[in-house]
């Protein structure tokens, strides 16, 4: 997959990329959905997860590969995802920006 220059990321896109990063080699649709559910503190629409994974792959921020098919999956393979360097650069850039903005604001939110 051709890698693209860093592009601005939406909030949910960032969350999906972070979930894929956290899951490492085990990141596929089901696990990403569960990971997001654990950390987001709210129900996450499964369709949103799949559409976002697909969109991120088309943007060049994720790559995917297929595992061996299994009978439990109706003879279909799992599609695993991995972040690209472009994605990590975009996430780093976004993190820097957010941290910079967040600096000194934590006490205000705790009031």
């Amino acid at each position: 997959m051709r890698e693209h220059a860093p592009a601005p990321l939406g909030e949910f896109e960032q969350m999906v990329l972070l979930a894929v990063l956290r899951l490492g080699a085990d990141a596929y649709g089901v696990s990403v959905h569960e990971e997001l559910g654990r950390h987001a503190g709210r129900a996450v629409a499964r369709g949103a997860v799949y559409m976002t994974l697909d969109r991120l792959e088309k943007k060049g921020l994720l790559t995917s590969w297929l595992s061996s098919p299994t009978p439990e999956r109706g003879g279909r393979a799992r599609r695993y995802y991995r972040v690209t360097r472009t994605a990590t650069e975009s996430l780093s850039s976004s993190r820097r920006a957010l941290l910079s903005l967040w600096r000194g604001l934590a006490p205000l939110l705790e009031k």
């Binding site: 499964r46 369709g47 599609r79």
Partner: protein, 885 residues
């Protein structure tokens, strides 16, 4: 269900993602299966539904986003439109020229389309019109000529032989008797009982019933929609209403109303349909119908023609010639079948196809013209466009701006053209021949408006290509160029535009010159009569088709002579005479036949003769060129003397050798004594101004006692209009006499060449318009080009160039495109004018004088168009031009 769900998901996403989702959900369902299969399955389908819904919503949002991206920014469009209008107003002469050029081209093209639509494009107003054919029967014997009509018995016999085809007929030779004198013919036809059934058309109101076709039934008719609207006040209960027939004084019953837009095959503007005349209805062998048939699906006209001819040959074996009858009346054994649409439009199709092509050439000329002007304007705005590019405008923005400006100008031209089309169409309609068969009345209707819109759109596209390209080039010039004079652009495109306009103009001017030249030659023809101060009165005394009453021949002749006597007593009348002749109706035949005694005169027979009354020669203005004219007493007493026309004498004897020769004739079965030729007069063009004069024999009316086509010749001392009014009053209370038309002879003569006048008007207008476009276009191009070269011209003048050399140099630059255009136009014209061969009169297609005149006019127009701006440029003050920024 799974397959359906998978298919839906694949449509909303893609195969890979859909498979991945299904695999993941199957895996989870398998895991959940331990808690209960039903619950797991329910969960599975709930998740699938949720994903499908989400994917659908996502797709809808993306589609809306894409659609919104293409929606034109209306505010920007409005801004750019305002800019286009301002830009056009900043160059008023240029804008006015473009608008005027486009308006002229559009006006003529729209006029032509409005007329041509009713001839070439409008489909026939009958359901399944492609299944209708016209049949022209004939004979394989080549000695039997002519195309006779068919009888009711013919139609019935064919129907029996070919039951899968439906036959009907329409009698086109009908004078309705319902129009007032000098009124345009109402147009009528007698129809076969199956007429409406075969055409598959229902009358709007009422209709004929079988008893209407009974010879003993009272006369009835079906009126046109227009007649019902204008003369019967759209009375919904019109069926059964009685209409008064002027002559004879009686009434007919309205049986129904034709639907709007109905056209009677073969009859121009027919307003009345009626059953066959009682005499015809009681004689089904009488041949008066034009045959029409509706073919079943799958039967081609060529195959039907073979079937019909086979049936005719079968019938011919069992049918004998009527004793004493001619082969012309005998059984048919040949047929020509053509689609009804072709048969109805064929007479005028060639003319209007040619005219359509000429209109297209004119529009193309206008497009070339404005294209050149707009390209020159683009160069003038080079600095403005370069600044826009420098400020970030994309090439697409530049092109869009320019095309919008062109569209504004061309749209204004189209609107003005539409306004101009109205008076031009009115003039053209007044010149249309009455016999022209139109499938709709030419008007600026919805179809024509749609044509204008399409043509304008095509014109904008065509005319914008080159100027838009020029504008893009100009926008790439360096903005830092401080000179207002834009770089001189050597443009092969400009030369091509000039050459193209000249070529197109030459084609149209040659065509116009040939047709106008033909018309001028016709106008130079001597009709043979002294047409000034002469009134011709066509009288009708033959049995009126709606009354069924037949007068005796001596009775009709007596009534004719009584009318002539009354006319002689009118004040202002200097001479009155009568003749039985079909006058100025594009065809002619004598009512009696003569043959030379003892086979003299080359042994010819059946020489056409015209019965004339006392006073005829004086009223017609015919003088004897040899021998003498018969006296009034000789004509009144029926003396056995005749006068012949000059061409008659020359054809059968040499010159005056005809004098003293004797001719034989008969009336009915009665042989008359030989008639002696006592005088020779000039030829008269009885049929039409552009038709050859007829070789005629003039014999005493009293001898022959005929009145089939009586015409009164009334010579007056002063104005004709008051006498015509008095003549019409003479017959107001005459129950068995009617004036079909009474008009000055000069006017009737001009009517015979109405089609020729129409052609000359159309092509003459095209020629004039093309010259106007050419002169305006070349003037504009040259003026704009010279304006860009102001500094250069100033330098030349400052360095000592004489004005003459300057003008000569500027004009010489245009010589090559002019000569190229003339050469190309000449070749195209030489090929194109072949379609005009049948329209010419005493002119050949490649008449040297006509061609030379056309070339000189076009070349002269082109040179004047370039000379004037060049001459104006030579008058520039060099110092002022050098200071020009």
């Amino acid at each position: 269900m799974r397959r359906l769900a998978l298919a839906v998901l694949r449509r909303l996403t893609d195969d890979a993602l859909a498979d991945s989702i299904f695999g993941d959900l199957d895996e989870l369902r398998h895991k959940r299966g331990s808690r209960g299969r039903a619950a797991a399955t329910l969960w599975f389908w709930r998740e699938i539904a949720g994903i499908v819904l989400y994917a659908s919503a996502r797709r809808a949002v993306e589609s809306a986003r894409r659609a919104a991206a293409f929606r034109p920014d209306l505010a920007r469009l409005a801004r750019e439109l305002r800019h286009a209008v301002r830009s056009s107003r900043a160059a008023p002469w240029y804008s006015a020229t473009v608008v005027a050029v486009m308006a002229l081209g559009i006006a003529l093209a729209v006029t032509i389309f409005a007329v041509v639509d009713g001839v070439l494009f409008k489909p026939l107003p009958y359901p399944g019109a492609d299944r209708l054919v016209a049949i022209q029967p004939g004979f394989t014997d080549p000695s039997v000529r002519g195309r006779p009509p068919v009888s009711a018995n013919d139609l019935e016999a064919w129907q029996r032989a070919l039951p899968h085809v439906r036959f009907t007929g329409v009698d086109l030779s009908v004078m309705t008797g319902l129009e007032a004198a000098n009124e345009d013919p109402l147009g009528g036809a007698m129809v076969h009982p199956a007429f409406f059934d075969v055409l598959d058309v229902e009358p709007l109101i009422g209709g004929f019933v079988p008893s209407d076709f009974d010879p003993a039934a009272p006369r009835s008719l079906i009126v046109s929609y227009e007649y019902w609207q204008h003369r019967l006040s759209s009375d919904p209960s019109v069926v059964g209403r009685e209409i008064a027939v002027p002559a004879p004084l009686m009434s007919v019953r309205v049986a129904g109303v034709m639907p709007p837009g109905f056209v009677v095959p073969g009859v121009t503007r027919a307003h009345l349909l009626m059953p066959p005349h009682p005499r015809l209805a009681s004689n089904p062998n009488q041949r008066t119908y034009q045959a029409i048939a509706r073919l079943p699906d799958g039967l081609e006209p060529a195959v039907f023609q073979q079937q019909l001819e086979a049936a005719m040959r079968q019938l011919a074996r069992s049918e004998l010639l009527t004793p004493g009858g001619s082969r012309f009346q005998g059984p048919f054994d040949r047929a020509t079948v053509s689609p009804l649409a072709d048969w109805m439009t064929q007479p005028s199709k060639q003319l209007f196809e040619t005219v359509s092509v000429a209109a297209l050439v004119l529009v193309l000329t206008a497009c070339l013209n404005v294209s050149g002007l707009m390209a020159a304007r683009s160069l003038d705005r080079g600095r403005d466009l370069a600044v826009r590019r420098a400020l970030g405008a994309r090439p697409a923005d530049i092109v869009r701006l320019q095309v919008l400006e062109y569209a504004v100008l061309l749209g204004a031209g189209g609107g003005l053209g539409l306004a101009l089309a109205y008076p031009i169409l009115t003039i053209t309609l007044s010149l249309l021949p009455h016999e022209l068969h139109l499938l709709k009345t030419p008007a600026l209707d919805a179809r024509v408006l749609a044509f204008i819109v399409l043509m304008l759109a095509a014109s904008v596209v065509l005319a914008s290509i080159w100027p838009a390209r020029r504008a893009l080039q100009a926008s790439n010039w360096p903005v830092a160029n401080t000179s207002a004079a834009t770089p001189r652009v050597r443009s092969g495109g400009r030369s091509a535009v000039v050459a193209g306009q000249i070529a197109a103009a030459l084609v149209l001017v040659v065509a116009g010159a040939l047709l106008v030249g033909s018309l001028l030659r016709v106008w130079n023809n001597d009709d043979g009569l002294e047409v000034d101060n002469l009134i011709l009165v066509d009288l009708v005394m033959t049995p009126n088709p709606v009354n069924g009453s037949v007068g005796s021949v001596p009775n009709m002749a007596t009534r004719f002579e009584q009318f002539l006597d009354r006319a002689r007593r009118l004040p202002g009348v200097t001479a009155v005479g009568g003749a039985d002749v079909l006058m100025l109706s594009r065809s002619w035949w004598g009512v009696i036949g003569f043959k030379p005694l003892n086979g003299a005169g080359g042994g010819v027979e059946n020489l056409q003769g015209i019965p004339v009354t006392p006073g005829y020669f004086q009223a017609a203005g015919l003088r004897a060129v040899a021998g003498r004219l018969p006296t009034d007493a000789e004509l009144a007493s029926g003396a056995p003397v005749v006068v012949v026309s000059r061409s008659f004498a020359a054809a059968h004897w040499s010159g005056t050798a005809a004098l003293g020769q004797q001719l034989l004739t008969s009336v009915g079965r009665r042989e008359l004594p030989p008639h002696t030729i006592i005088g020779i007069v000039e030829d008269v063009r009885f049929a039409g101004w552009d038709l050859p004069p007829e070789a005629a024999v003039y014999a005493p009316y009293a001898t022959l006692n005929f009145a089939s086509a009586p015409v009164a010749f009334i010579r007056v001392a002063g104005a004709t209009a008051p006498i015509i009014a008095e003549v019409l009053r003479l017959v107001e209370h005459e129950p068995t006499l009617r004036v079909r038309r009474a008009a000055p002879a000069r006017e009737l003569l001009a009517e015979t060449i109405r089609p020729r006048r129409l052609r000359s008007w159309l092509f003459g207008a095209f020629a004039a318009a093309s010259l106007a476009l050419l002169s305006v276009g070349l003037f504009g191009l040259a003026a704009m080009s010279i304006a860009r070269r102001t500094r250069e011209i100033g330098v030349r003048l400052a360095l000592g160039a004489t004005r003459g050399r300057l003008v000569g140099g500027l004009v010489a630059e245009q010589l090559m495109p002019i000569l190229t255009g003339l050469a190309a136009g000449g070749l195209v014209a030489a090929w194109a004018v072949r379609s005009l061969q049948s329209f010419l009169y005493e002119l050949t297609l490649y008449d040297v004088r006509v061609w030379l005149t056309a070339v000189l006019v076009v070349a002269g127009t082109a040179l004047v168009g370039t000379l004037v701006p060049s001459w104006r440029a030579s008058r520039l003050d060099p110092m002022r031009s050098l200071r020009t920024e």
